[in-house]
């Protein structure tokens, strides 16, 4: 008998599922959208990961980068879907309650939901993979363009990608199923019927404690920012952890206490005369601040992370050429190898490559820095002296210092000198202990060095007098003959191939501008692609979560809008208040996230020799623009709700 009855239930249950899905498309589309979007993005990623063209291009680092990004992607997709499901379940709790009210057992309701979830999941997988196949080609083309790979590429259907996507979403499906079963079994009928009305009521904050915590939140962030500018010392790892901890805790306190505290003070000062706009922004915000604190903190921290990641990656990609040029002002260079320089000149001639060969003379002498921003400067260290006039003739852009003054060129340590006040003294370790005054820290080398030496540029007159004196003292060994080559733009690849032959190799570090540039473009291109892809996924998830939350709030507040319109407020009046609330809900996480990332980028700017203001601003601007699309969507949804309220 039990068999029979369960069989009958299953049949009707399936009918019920079909019917309720058809009728509730409106409720489902949100969850369904989240599912499909996650499948599409994950599938595209998996396809790229398994693509032969990518695999051929990639070396070991590329594979690891893809793997790490893949795990992050799964985590984000999981959180996103579970969150969307939670909202979806809350919206449907009345329906779930109704099924139980008409006599379905909890078991049957759970089965109904699981069946639905399964159908939705299968449909999302099919649709998502189909869409993913269409768009993965676009992403592959983008990736190849970014890493400078120019060849015809064919996206092949990847069974491995399909299987991988299937298993990832099977795991997520198990998660959402557990979540659904929990909702059915853990909630009483009454709470299911009332869950739409839930929301905490603002309590009067305990003034003293709140005030202290509120200020502590601001203080922690300020301290984190302050410390982020002073991290570069022996305790760098500890400093980074401290910055992260204080800023995240500060952000949480800001959302949990500071804002409620400030809003409460503003509200109290109004003494009941709140006005319509505040009634629609300040009051509901205070009402929900407690439950929103966690998600707003997570969204802010995620936004800050994403912004920092994409801004840094884009800055690296953007400044690849200038960074490489700063390290290697010549296309390639021979040090005391005039013979090899002659050979390569001949070979370049034979191949019809136009080039310019520049002989630059330098001599190396130990010197002591007055300012010692790095540990290796504690002792006297070798420096290379060069003449500015000769460098200018060789096509290197460099200013001519005055007599007795010098400019410092060493991109690897230049940023360390940022905090040093100019000018400072450089004492040469010659017999006369000549003092040069460093008046400029340049962000650019003047020679391609295969080893680590700071280059000091003085004017021709100073150079010649020092040379005479030092040649007597230390003999010919200090004098070095450099042969630098400038290659015409169109011949760079060919020249690089010639230079990279073994016969020209004199040391392990056999680098030329072109091949370094190509390598940098490839790794930075991959970096910006992965950062951009992950950033997009983070952005879409956080934006959607905020949008879903606002949709739910709009529905919960529908009655208020009906009342307000009845009282004689127009849609326009009401929308002014709502726009203010949206500006707060979307704007605050963005603003705090931006501030965090600006300080993070600033702290990391020592990695860059070039100015990254432009690329970082572009990346942040694009992020903010896409993010604002969600705010506009939310406002649109509110407008629809307010219009339909009466």
């Amino acid at each position: 008998m039990c068999r029979l009855c369960s069989g009958v239930t299953a049949l009707t249950l399936f009918d019920l599922v079909k019917r309720s899905m058809r009728k509730n498309i409106k409720h489902y589309y949100l969850y369904f959208f989240a599912l499909i979007l996650s499948v599409v993005l994950y599938f595209v990623f998996a396809t790229l990961q398994h693509d032969t063209a990518v695999a051929e291009q990639g070396t070991g680092t590329m594979g690891t980068a893809f793997q790490v990004a893949g795990i992050l992607l799964i985590v984000i997709a999981g959180i996103f879907i579970v969150y969307a499901n939670a909202i979806f379940l809350k919206r449907r709790s009345r329906e779930i309650g109704l099924y139980q009210l008409i006599g379905l057992t909890k078991r049957a309701v759970a089965r109904l939901l699981i069946l639905e979830n399964m159908l939705l999941g299968i449909m999302a997988l099919i649709v998502g993979i189909a869409v993913g196949m269409l768009v993965s080609r676009v992403f592959l083309l983008l990736l190849m363009k970014l890493i400078g790979y120019e060849a015809f590429i064919e996206v092949s259907f990847s069974t491995a990608a399909v299987t991988q996507t299937f298993f990832v979403f099977l795991a997520i499906f198990v998660l959402t199923t557990i979540q659904m079963v929990f909702t059915v079994y853990r909630n009483s009928l009454l709470s299911l019927f009332n869950s739409e009305k839930q929301g905490q009521h603002p309590r009067k904050p305990k003034t003293a404690v709140s005030a202290i915590l509120a200020l502590l939140g601001i203080g922690l962030i300020a301290f984190g920012y302050w410390l982020s500018g002073r991290m570069l010392n022996a305790m760098i790892f500890f400093n980074m952890l401290a910055v992260l901890a204080t800023v995240i805790l500060g952000t949480y306190l800001i959302f949990r206490v500071t804002i409620s505290w400030l809003l409460y003070r503003i509200r109290r000062s109004k003494n009941g005369h709140l006005g319509l706009e505040n009634s629609l922004s300040l009051a509901p915000l205070m009402h929900r601040m407690k439950s929103n604190a966690n998600s707003l903190t997570i969204i802010t921290v995620l936004s800050a992370m994403t912004l920092t990641m994409t801004a840094a990656a884009y800055s690296m990609y953007y400044s690849t050429e200038r960074e490489t040029q700063a390290i290697m002002p010549f296309d390639f260079m021979f040090e005391n190898e005039a013979g090899l320089a002659d050979d390569i000149s001949e070979e370049l001639d034979v191949n019809g490559i136009s080039y310019q060969r520049e002989a630059v003379e330098t001599f190396v002498v130990p010197a002591e820095f007055e300012e010692k921003p790095a540990p290796f400067l504690e002792r006297a260290t070798d420096i290379a002296l060069l003449s500015s006039e000769r460098l200018q003739q060789a096509g290197i852009e460099v200013d001519t210092p005055k007599n007795g003054e010098a400019s410092f060129h060493d991109v690897s340590v230049a940023t360390l000198f940022n905090s040093v006040t100019l000018p400072f003294d450089l004492t040469l370790q010659d017999e006369e202990r000549t003092i040069l005054s460093i008046t400029e820290i340049a962000q650019q080398n003047v020679l391609n060095w295969s080893f680590f030496t700071s280059q000091i540029v003085v004017n021709e007159e100073t150079y010649q007098s020092l040379k005479e004196q030092l040649a007597v003292e230390s003999g010919e060994t200090a004098l070095q003959q450099m042969d630098g080559f400038h290659i015409a733009e169109q011949d760079m690849a060919a020249a690089s191939a010639i230079y990279q032959q073994d016969k020209y190799k004199t040391s392990d570090l056999h680098v030329d501008y072109y091949s370094s540039y190509e390598d940098a473009v490839q790794s930075n291109g991959l970096l910006i692609f992965i950062a951009g892809f992950l950033g997009l996924v983070f952005l879409i998830s956080t934006g959607s979560i905020l949008y879903f939350k606002q949709m739910t709030e709009a529905e919960q507040e529908k009655q208020s809008y009906a009342t307000l319109r009845q009282l004689g407020f127009t849609v326009k009046d009401i929308m002014r208040g709502i726009v203010r609330k949206q500006a707060f809900v979307f704007g605050l996480p963005l603003a705090i996230g931006l501030a965090h990332s600006i300080f993070a980028i600033q702290a990391a700017s020592f990695l860059f020799r070039t100015d990254i203001l432009f690329p970082a601003s572009v990346a942040m601007g694009v992020y903010a623009l896409i993010y604002l699309v969600f705010a506009v969507l939310a406002v649109g949804y509110y407008k629809k709700t307010v219009k339909a309220a009466l």
Binding site: G199, G272, H273, S279, S560, L567, G568, F569, D573
Partner: protein, 268 residues
């Protein structure tokens, strides 16, 4: 037919606040039109407390919505304070509601996120009323309705009767020409209900506020100065309280209601 209760002794000295002429309202599309209001004529003078009664489906709420400018009549003219609301645009209607009308709802319709005081001051928030004037107005109304002590409480912290008083205070804050009340006692226990109705009657008498109240409760309508009975979209009859006691008026209302609802008994 024992319903010859129409009194013709209307006090013409009072100014007309609301004048409705041949108001009709139909719902539904072509082919399936349902006429809910079938040509209603109604005049409300300043200082009146008019009750609208009728069985479910008689058109009470539809009439209230149409008169209160929330819904538009299909036909007919409605003048409130001499202004023809059937010719107004939506934005004008909103402004009109905000400045000239007050509303009390069955479910209070207070905003949960606002305190009692903030709720009450909401209607004047866009107006030109100065803050001091609004504050003074609030103080006097809160005193009349006996909710001064609740000013900083949230709706979830007070009782149904207190909520409805708050709602009434909100309706009165902008000194409206006409207050519409839709089953204001529908969700209240009998004690809170009679207390609220007593206050409404006091406000009506002492402040001269004109009130139109829809109710199906004869006890509630016995507080009115006039009761209009609707039946199937028409005005069926009217009762004036005059100098009668409330108990006598209540008895009269019950009599009319018995006749109103008696059709089905006749049919048996």
């Amino acid at each position: 037919m024992t319903t010859q209760n129409k009194t013709i002794t209307q006090k013409t000295s009072k100014q007309t606040v609301l004048q409705a002429h041949n108001v009709r309202k139909s719902f539904g599309a072509r082919g399936n039109v349902q006429q809910v209001l079938k040509g209603i004529d109604l005049r409300v003078a300043e200082g009146e407390f008019v009750g609208i009664m009728g069985a479910s489906g008689a058109g009470k709420t539809t009439l209230l919505n149409v008169l209160a400018t929330i819904d538009r009549a299909t036909e007919g003219t409605i003048l409130i304070d001499g202004a023809d609301i059937s010719k107004m645009k939506d934005a004008e209607l909103s402004a009109f509601r905000r400045n000239q009308l007050g509303f009390i709802f069955q479910d209070y319709n207070l905003l949960d996120t606002l305190t009692v005081k903030e709720n009450i001051l909401l209607p004047v928030s866009l107006g030109k009323m100065k803050k001091q004037a609004a504050e003074a107005q609030f103080q006097s109304i809160a005193k009349i309705l006996d909710i001064e002590a609740l000013a900083d409480k949230y709706p979830h912290e007070i009782s149904g009767g207190q909520k409805q008083r708050t709602s009434a205070a909100r309706a009165l804050i902008n000194q409206p020409s006409l207050v519409f009340a839709d089953e204001p006692t529908g969700a209240l226990d009998s004690k809170s209900a009679s207390s609220l109705l007593g206050t409404m009657a006091d406000v009506n008498k002492q402040q001269g506020v004109t009130i139109m109240m829809v109710t199906h409760d004869p006890l509630a309508s016995s507080y009115c100065s006039r009761v209009v009975f609707l039946k199937d979209g028409n005005v069926y009859s009217e009762l004036y309280k005059g100098d009668k006691t409330r108990q006598a008026f209540f008895q009269e209302i019950l009599n009319v209601q018995a006749v109103l609802g008696g059709d089905s008994v006749d049919a048996l």
